[in-house]
Symmetry: C2
Subunit: 187 residues, 2 copies
């Protein structure tokens, strides 16, 4: 993992987890092992090289507690550049391709968003998320209508499953919006 040219999703997950708090690589691994978070490998071969890459790009810094031993716990924290990169990622527009193939990325962004960017930005994100879903679902429906004749029954059902998933996600987004709008009003 020399000189990553772009930060990977795992990289952003690590940045997000480090926002506002210190943690060691081990702590971050445990997060992946013990919580439903992300869907990232907890293997050291994934995390430590990724952290090294973030450090090389000066997005995080590490401090060996007391003595400068080679082994032993190292506390990691975001640099100003790390916070900026995290915010840049969280702020990037929701596009159709995200909804069609990278919903996991969107949900990861959402999970960090309100703590990092605040409620207004989160609401804006949810609005464009909903919009992208409302655009995407009819596309799939149209495909289903046009092709259901020469699709196998299970192929048809599989596509319907996808559509249902997006619709369920849209319902969730609507609920999330109402939660955030409620809070916003009450402030």
């Amino acid at each position: 993992m020399r000189t990553m040219k772009t930060v990977t999703l795992l990289g952003y997950a690590l940045l997000g987890l480090l926002h506002g708090k210190l943690a060691s690589g081990y702590d971050l691994r445990k997060t992946f092992t013990d919580t439903p978070m992300g869907r990232f490998s907890d293997s050291p071969g994934a995390i430590y090289p990724a952290l090294r890459g973030l450090e090389e790009r000066k997005l995080i810094v590490s401090r060996s507690k007391d003595r400068a031993t080679l082994r032993g716990r190292r506390e990691l924290s975001l640099t100003a550049a790390g916070v900026a990169e995290l915010k840049r990622w969280l702020s990037s527009p929701v596009d159709q391709a995200d909804v069609a193939g990278r919903m996991g990325d969107l949900m990861l962004r959402f999970a960090f968003m309100d703590g990092v960017l605040g409620e207004i930005a989160t609401l804006t994100f949810l609005y464009s998320f909903a919009q992208a879903l409302r655009t995407h679902v009819p596309t799939l429906r149209k495909y289903l209508d046009d092709h259901s004749g020469h699709m196998s029954r299970s192929g048809r059902l599989a596509l319907e499953s996808g559509i249902c998933g997006y619709e369920s996600q849209l319902e969730w987004v609507a609920r999330a919006i109402s939660v955030y709008e409620g809070t916003e009003n009450s402030k």
Copy 2:
């Protein structure tokens, strides 16, 4: 992609698409480009090496149409071993980890299943899929109940989104089961 030791998900997608019909690498690429299928890259750098790997493992064979030129369309088809490997994959049990982190694999299997294994096997698959979902959802709910106190609002909502997704999937499985049971009865 020398001597793949295991067939990847892309490999199985290709085997599934080749079941019962001939196609070229280009045809397969077009399937990924033009349909909502899978969520696989249509890049030649992914598909041709994968096809080469399947050919080396004798799961598919290729025939250059007439003349033995190096370029030009090559029709691919499954070997007996390819069909067997596809069936083996489709028949493998649904485990908790599949539901928790590889739902896409399960849906891909489902999409091919009824054409390759038939209705009885598909129903069996759906039953165990439903069972795995019914086991998994309470696990997530419990996590949410136990930890919602010290989770951020957006973290909480993100987890709820996951739970809703699984519940929606479970509803879909129930509907698919009723479709298959209906057919089975009427035969």
